[in-house]
């Protein structure tokens, strides 16, 4: 399975925005074998960055121990409706993806 699209939702409660982001990614551990017994190489997201209105507010480093098609929730304070949230990831093969949404 290849890495693919992302989905994100950002909803405001008071001045805190709840961010929920889904990443399509196999998160291969390097411990699984395919049908013919060959080890499936490691392929997993290593870095995440969350930006609000262009400013980095959160950086994550993750391992192959995160579940396939990772879903993360984060909370941003001092947020208001219309603020732009961007999340991007980078994996161990140098592939990356990003998504952006406005807080609603």
């Amino acid at each position: 399975m290849a890495a693919g699209p992302m989905k994100m939702r950002a909803s405001l409660k008071g001045d805190v925005a709840d961010i929920r982001v889904l990443m399509t990614h196999p998160m291969e551990t390097g411990q699984r074998k395919d049908a013919s017994g060959n080890v499936i190489p490691q392929h997993f997201i290593q870095n995440l960055t969350v930006k609000m209105n262009g400013k980095t507010v959160l950086e994550g480093q993750i391992s192959q121990g995160v579940s396939r098609n990772p879903v993360f929730s984060f909370r941003l304070k001092g947020a208001k409706a219309g603020d732009k949230v961007e999340v991007n990831w980078l994996d161990n093969n140098g592939e990356s993806n990003k998504t952006e949404t406005a807080i609603a």
Binding site: R32, Q46, N47, L58, S73, R75, K77
Partner: protein, 149 residues
Amino acid sequence: MNALRRLTLGAGAALAAGLLLPLRALAAGWNKDAFQSRTAADVLKSLGATGGAESKDIVIEAPQIAENGEVVPIEVTSNLPGTKSIAVLIEKNPFPLTGKFEFMEGALPFVKLNVKMGQSSFVRVVAEVNGRHYVATREIKVTIGGCGG
């Protein structure tokens, strides 16, 4: 023709190397030593986070029993003012360190993620506040492991 091909290949390789450089620089932000450590103790050493004090202000929400080890939801909140980072370790996994999250101005010290668990294990969360470390643990029992074939 061959010379042209070699030249083209060479240029292509040089270009690829140049393109890879910025990615490598980014990937340097991944703590390889800590992520490749095989015990929780070694992870904590690599993170410089040994000897953390237990804290009730770190709240771990997770199922007591996880039926499917492929997807175990874990939610962590630090109520310690000034929490700079949160690291999540699954002690019995082959590589315990599962994530480390750094919070800058604008982000609350909270994260929810799904992890794989090979077997029942303690989850250990380490929060960093002003260069000091605080720890909370919680046990999760797993019915079917999620790290094998």
